[in-house]
């Protein structure tokens, strides 16, 4: 675990009506730390992330970011505090070119108040080059790019705007092995720039290669929180799906 703490969630509970989605979860992320947050569908990982991003207020529990207690009530507030969340379908506008995507919502203006298109082109291109992305021009539309390149742009953008914590949802889903490796490189680059990341996935294989620490949720509870070196893949996989023989008799159901 990292020396300095960036994000700390204490005893987070979240109810949706009668459903107890999070049952007292403690979760933290250190500076320059990459945490893999894994769990099956419905385990509570996206609920936890939505609490962190200010989409849901927690029913009970405290949230600290950069040492201060926070009560984010909208994604904009967490964004301003320095938390960038990249959801799969919400990262980029396909029909827009790279530079316009890069600065969407934070467009720079020149001295007559119009879009500073040159600055947008220059800075987005340098952001992509820092990331090692090979793209011809910042005028290329996103729908011409591969999935890995798109993740790279979203990560480069988070780097450029100096976010402290970036949350990536299924970062290598639907990517080829070669492209996944690229995305892992981008994530390592984040770390070298002293930024932290949370990688969400339902599969341990997806986040294991780059995570410093693995956290597993099941049925709204944290059941594993270990440094990567101490984690056995089999152990995590069993933890994610639970012991089938114990909980539900699968053979019985099949019959």
């Amino acid at each position: 675990m990292s020396e300095n703490e960036l994000l700390r969630c204490e005893n987070i509970h979240k109810y949706f009506g009668q459903v107890h989605a999070l049952e007292g979860v403690d979760f933290d992320v250190g500076e320059a730390e990459v945490v893999g947050l894994v769990g099956d569908n419905g385990a509570g990982k996206s609920t936890l992330i939505k609490v962190v991003c200010g989409i849901y207020p927690p029913t009970k529990g405290k949230l600290f970011f950069k040492g201060e207690e926070r009560h984010f009530s909208s994604p904009q507030e967490s964004l301003q505090a320095g938390i960038e969340s990249i959801q799969q379908d919400q990262a980029l506008v396909e029909e827009m070119d790279i530079k316009r995507n890069f600065f969407l919502g934070r467009e720079p203006k020149n001295n007559v108040g119009l879009l500073d298109v040159r600055k947008m082109a220059r800075e987005s291109l340098s952001g992509l080059m820092d990331m090692g992305l090979e793209i011809r021009s910042p005028d290329v539309e996103v729908n011409e790019l591969s999935g890995g390149q798109r993740q790279g742009i979203a990560i480069a953008r988070a780097l450029h705007f100096n976010f402290d914590l970036i949350i990536l949802d299924e970062p290598t889903n639907n990517l080829s092995i070669k492209e996944s490796k690229k995305v892992y490189e981008y994530i390592r680059k984040l770390k070298r720039n002293n930024l932290s990341a949370i990688l969400i996935s339902h599969a341990i294989q997806e986040v294991y290669p780059v995570s410093d620490r693995i956290v597993v949720l099941r049925n709204g509870k944290k059941i594993i929180d270990k440094d990567r070196e101490e984690v056995e893949l089999d152990e995590v996989e069993t933890a994610i799906i639970g012991d089938i023989g114990e909980e539900g008799d699968l053979e019985h159901i099949v019959r």
Partner: protein
């Protein structure tokens, strides 16, 4: 030498990636065809001023905001009725004796309010704008019909007041002064769409609403502004039309909404939003005008106008779908 080459490359690239390139090519083809069939359509002063530019300006003032609204992912089917409301409404206010300028301000404010109502219902209640503005199309047309039980008329002096602004023959009779207003509107809207953060939010709202929201680009506010802009300019076009022609009818501009959508689509806009350009909508509008005029000049019965527009619309849609991405892949 290197610089010249770079410059040439950059000009070539800008041309090839120009969003309205395919509609521009369509326009050239249509013009060439009519020039070959009836040369007059390009060089006859009274045809250009009357059939092409007079009606074309009224249409284009509406087509430009409609295209922006479509880029943001919304429709406005009420523009024909709001156009008629602007035309008939200002005659009504002239008739009851309001000062022409006051009448003008009231009409534009009323049309802005109509846009606000359409936007609020669409955004707050989550009703698709196709439905909201379809309801608006019928409702506002009824208001127009209720306003006049006979052909709208107005005192000559009030009409002249605006005719002296919009209907002055210029450049030796090639166009009316309202054409200059259109050019000014085009330039302003182009800058807004292509060179402001607000313009960026228009493309984002239609391209990926959730992404726009997540990036803090306020897509709902963007759509609200565009609905208001569209209704206001539709009413303005109605005023321009009625005062420069000196007459209007309660059933004027019926079906205009679909020509506007056709103009935007011919100009490269997608029904799903996120794509399109003002140059394209501009070219699309005048393409429709040229086809209409050309068909009449060729002596084909004018009932074929709509049939030919249908064919051109389809060809343009096919061209837009395949042309641009291929050109870009190949040459950039």
């Amino acid at each position: 030498m290197r610089k010249i080459k770079d410059f040439g490359w950059s000009v070539g690239r800008t041309t090839l990636t120009w969003k309205a390139l395919s509609s521009f090519i369509s326009l050239i083809v249509v013009l060439a065809f009519f020039y070959w069939q009836v040369g007059d359509i390009l060089f006859n002063k009274s045809i250009v001023r009357g059939s092409i530019l007079d009606l074309g300006v009224n249409w284009a003032i509406v087509a430009l905001p409609v295209a922006m609204l479509m880029i943001s992912g919304e429709f406005d089917l009420s523009v024909g009725s709001v156009f008629a409301l602007g035309a008939s409404g200002i005659f009504k206010l002239f008739q009851i004796g309001l000062h022409p300028l006051l009448a003008f301000v009231i009409i534009l404010a009323a049309c802005a309010l109509i846009g606000f109502v359409h936007a609020s219902i669409t955004i707050k209640l989550g009703i698709p704008s196709f439905i909201t503005t379809l309801a608006g199309m019928w409702f506002w047309r009824s208001v127009v019909n209720a306003m006049w039980s006979y052909t709208p008329s107005a005192p000559r002096s009030a009409i002249e007041y605006f005719n002296n602004v919009f209907g002055v023959r210029m450049a030796g009779g090639w166009f009316y002064s309202k054409f200059l207003f259109l050019i000014a509107i085009f330039v302003i809207l182009w800058i807004v769409l292509e060179r402001t953060p607000f313009g960026n939010s228009i493309f984002a709202a239609g391209g990926n609403y959730d992404a726009a929201l997540a990036r803090g680009s306020k897509p709902d506010r963007t759509k609200l502004v565009l609905f208001i802009l569209t209704s206001t300019l539709a009413g303005f076009a109605g005023v321009v039309s009625a005062t420069s022609a000196g007459a209007t009818m309660t059933n004027t501009a019926m079906g205009l909404e679909l020509y506007m959508i056709a103009a935007a689509v011919i100009g490269g806009a997608a029904l799903t939003g996120g794509v399109g350009s003002l140059e394209g909508a501009f070219i699309g509008t005048f393409l429709l005008r040229y086809i209409n005029t050309g068909v009449i000049q060729m002596g084909i019965q004018s009932k074929w106008f709509q049939g030919i527009i249908g064919v051109v619309l389809l060809l343009a849609a096919v061209l837009n779908r395949n042309f641009r991405s291929r050109v870009i892949k190949r040459f950039t």
